[in-house]
Symmetry: C2
Amino acid sequence: MSLLLESAATRAMAETALQRTKKKALSFATVVKHRAMIRAYKSDPIPEEKIQRLLTYAMHAPSAGNLQPWEFILVKNPETRAKLAKAAFDQTSITSAPVIIATCADIQRAGSKYGARGSFYSLVDTAFASLLILLGAVEQGLGACFVGSYNPEEVVKLFALPDHVRPVGLITIGYPAESPRKPGTPKLPLSRLVHAEKW
Amino acid sequence: MSLLLESAATRAMAETALQRTKKKALSFATVVKHRAMIRAYKSDPIPEEKIQRLLTYAMHAPSAGNLQPWEFILVKNPETRAKLAKAAFDQTSITSAPVIIATCADIQRAGSKYGARGSFYSLVDTAFASLLILLGAVEQGLGACFVGSYNPEEVVKLFALPDHVRPVGLITIGYPAESPRKPGTPKLPLSRLVHAEKW
């Protein structure tokens, strides 16, 4: 191979490595820093493999006793989405998103081992799973929003959840139709929130 | 620049890009997949900058109304750690870890805006912050464990937490002295946990 060709090939390799970094393997730090609540979405459908990827990330959440107390309601039907939006005080992210993953906590699964403390664990663990969906969306080039403001009774009724399953978050997902409100949602000073040894 | 030099320089660039990916910027997917609960730690101290990095990641968690209801108690003192271990049923990860970040939820900060629902938000949001510490530990070459099993009253007393602040997780952190129990904590089949449109 001539030096000229080799140089071009090597340059192509360098580009590929960088593209790979950008396209396929966003760094953890980049994902964390770029996560932001997106409330307006394009109507473009999300490829099924991306949704599966988000759910697979969610399954990597830690859970007390590895009981995995999470359940996911996958909502795409426009009629269900309209009803869900109503149960969530007509928030625009719900009406706009082509897909909603409602994360729910099975308090029985954790409760069977941990008693009353199981409710606490199931909520914390399902929050973990929810955050992995939010972060995974960034990695997949999607936007997402965690909607915690909804009428729990109405959501339970709409999804026909059994008594032992509680809704946690309605995660709206889609291709962003707005820029995230970044840089910088204002943050409290870390020094105010960190206490040495005790409060 | 001669072609020979250019080629070498480009190759070096390619290598640097790859090394950067490997050493400095673990991918999101890698971090998620390699996260595991580590319960045994070396006694080596953790550089302060790594702890600050973990806390900074935690601050990137989303929160209802951006109220950031989390507080962090940073425990290093061996005496405090021993007392904390006692409050957490003598779990080995607590006694072994050189650093513990206790994540706490300020229910008043969220409650002032959201009333009773604020408790729910503050717990979910503090769980988000906790998971970012756990994931950040992987990125920083550390091991961590989320300990949710403790006597809440004893932890409140030990940290002198005010009434409106509740402990969420005791996150033990250190350089791992054990291999994670991987590959594969057994997982429930995803198909069993995903429901289309409703339960």
